[in-house]
Symmetry: C2
Amino acid sequence: MTAGRDVIVTVRPLLPPVEKLTTALAEVFDSGVITNDGPRVRALESLLSAALGMEDLAVCASGTTAIQLACCALEMTGEVLVPAAAFPAAAQAVLRAGGTPIAVDIEPTYLTMDPAAAAAAVTPRTCGIMAVHTFGCPADVDALESLAATAGIPLLFDGAACWGVRFRDRPLLSFGDASTLSLHATKLTHSVEGGAVMSRTRSISDKIRRLRNFGSTPDGALAAGTNARMSELHAAVGAIVLGEAGAEISRRQAIRRLYEDGLRTLPWLEPCAFRSDAASNIGAFPVRLAPDTGYDAEQLSDALLRYGVHTRAYFAGRYRIHAIARHAATPHADAAARSIVCLPFWGAMTSQEVFRVIEALRAVHTGHRAAR
Amino acid sequence: MTAGRDVIVTVRPLLPPVEKLTTALAEVFDSGVITNDGPRVRALESLLSAALGMEDLAVCASGTTAIQLACCALEMTGEVLVPAAAFPAAAQAVLRAGGTPIAVDIEPTYLTMDPAAAAAAVTPRTCGIMAVHTFGCPADVDALESLAATAGIPLLFDGAACWGVRFRDRPLLSFGDASTLSLHATKLTHSVEGGAVMSRTRSISDKIRRLRNFGSTPDGALAAGTNARMSELHAAVGAIVLGEAGAEISRRQAIRRLYEDGLRTLPWLEPCAFRSDAASNIGAFPVRLAPDTGYDAEQLSDALLRYGVHTRAYFAGRYRIHAIARHAATPHADAAARSIVCLPFWGAMTSQEVFRVIEALRAVHTGHRAAR
């Protein structure tokens, strides 16, 4: 069924003109400084800081190490509440920081950590909350901030996909004690591989800069240190891509509208809801499968691939960590694993490609009904 | 004292012609695949494999994550013996893998893990040995392999600086159950940031490839996973630099001879000894300060910087982790912290620069004696 057609991948990296990129990289090589917290890393940090209006910011080698080092900087090294449905990197990063992730259920509508489930899971051993703005959708920041304040523990938001998302006229990345961002190639703005930690106090980014460079301090190396530096090459790419992020946001908004129109013809699928005081989701395009279709998210994703459409059932299968302790049953996370799929979504998608995705979704559904 | 002179840094990255590098990077951008275990990563793995004659090899984002994932793959998640004098990344990586590093003393001559000290530290909780080929000098592989075999625990060698080092007509990186290599910009061959794990069984590299990509398996994500992928950009640079590593080795051998000649005029300093069945050290140029000079490695390093010479006292000060448990007193590691300094060492050094280092060493010593 894919004969003669390229697969439509889930995401394509935003790539400015190659000449612009290679010119910048030639400058990096000519300087002789190609890594180790050089001037391009500092420049990218300044650009990201300025765009967010947040002074306290440090970049890392990846979004995963950004979470890991944020957990270290916030001293989240005991039990840490994490959402039961999330990309595995979040819990893995908590583990790498020496914490013990405890999974709590998510809200059925927004797919973000359920504050009531989190409140029920807090014990004297709980030393932090790591919530996720799932696929760019804001978590319930008010309830989680209030819970963290009452418990006297730090609140970290993983905002991997949240570049450009504003919430109540503030960057979504400005909530919590600290937030992390992914700058991976699949994100709206990226540095090939990369991540960043933003926080509301000045001291966190200094800690992150130490930790990412083997925890080196004048008095010795911190045990929590590692190599989580961004190279000068990646930082130089990041600065150029960032300059094009505004245009990418506009293109993604247009793609989103095309999808929304197409999905109105498929009543068994709906775009995942976005919290009302945020603008539209430009980070990803997750959809929810109705419970009565007779097939689940993984089966849909597998079937779509046979039509040349690559999607991801991010809460199921190879993305699920089974080894993490759960505080209680997580029915909403389990339902999300069965029903949520991320559709191909990037700015340079053509309307033709969006239509192909819609038609593939229709064909899979029709084929399944015929086979029953 | 540095007026009008550039600082001679400890190391400069080997950089092939910029045009060659940017042409390769333009191809990566044109392909649209810039990370996520793409064809350049596989190509670099094949090149490194072929050069070593070792099939089982996987690259990682850094030398540190190479150690971390090797520890995970070898299931070194209990007490792990590590040398008391080593770059902090080694013990940090053991910690990130969930292990508990236990520091044991080093041999006074070769600065590598003392097998007798290691044997004394083995307990029923010991689940692995992570020895280091310090600055490229082979550890006592026979004694350590025999100890590991007797104890029934895996033996990992960190060979961060060991590219090109042969030992008994084999690559030094082929000893132990697994070895790790750094491909950081400061190494003889590099991929800007990077590392690799080599092992003697086929299964380890498959595990590393899973772990570096969020531990993704068809049955779910492994808790030990993380993002430790090398980007396609870094891999493309790595392939080109590797092609020039042979010439770099010859240049470094020549620089080494210049240093050895110069050091004969400074009786209070000697090049660190290299195990006799290995060729000369091309990874680094560590020297040992006589105990009766009245100044130590850190003071020497600080004083040299005032002469425009950047060196590193790698076992002291900001490189020392204080939080690691020690099995017993570590007098040889403590002595190394006081006496070992790595001099500037890279292939493109000029003889003039080597002479400047020698003269700065002489001036510091003379100045210190005059001040006493």
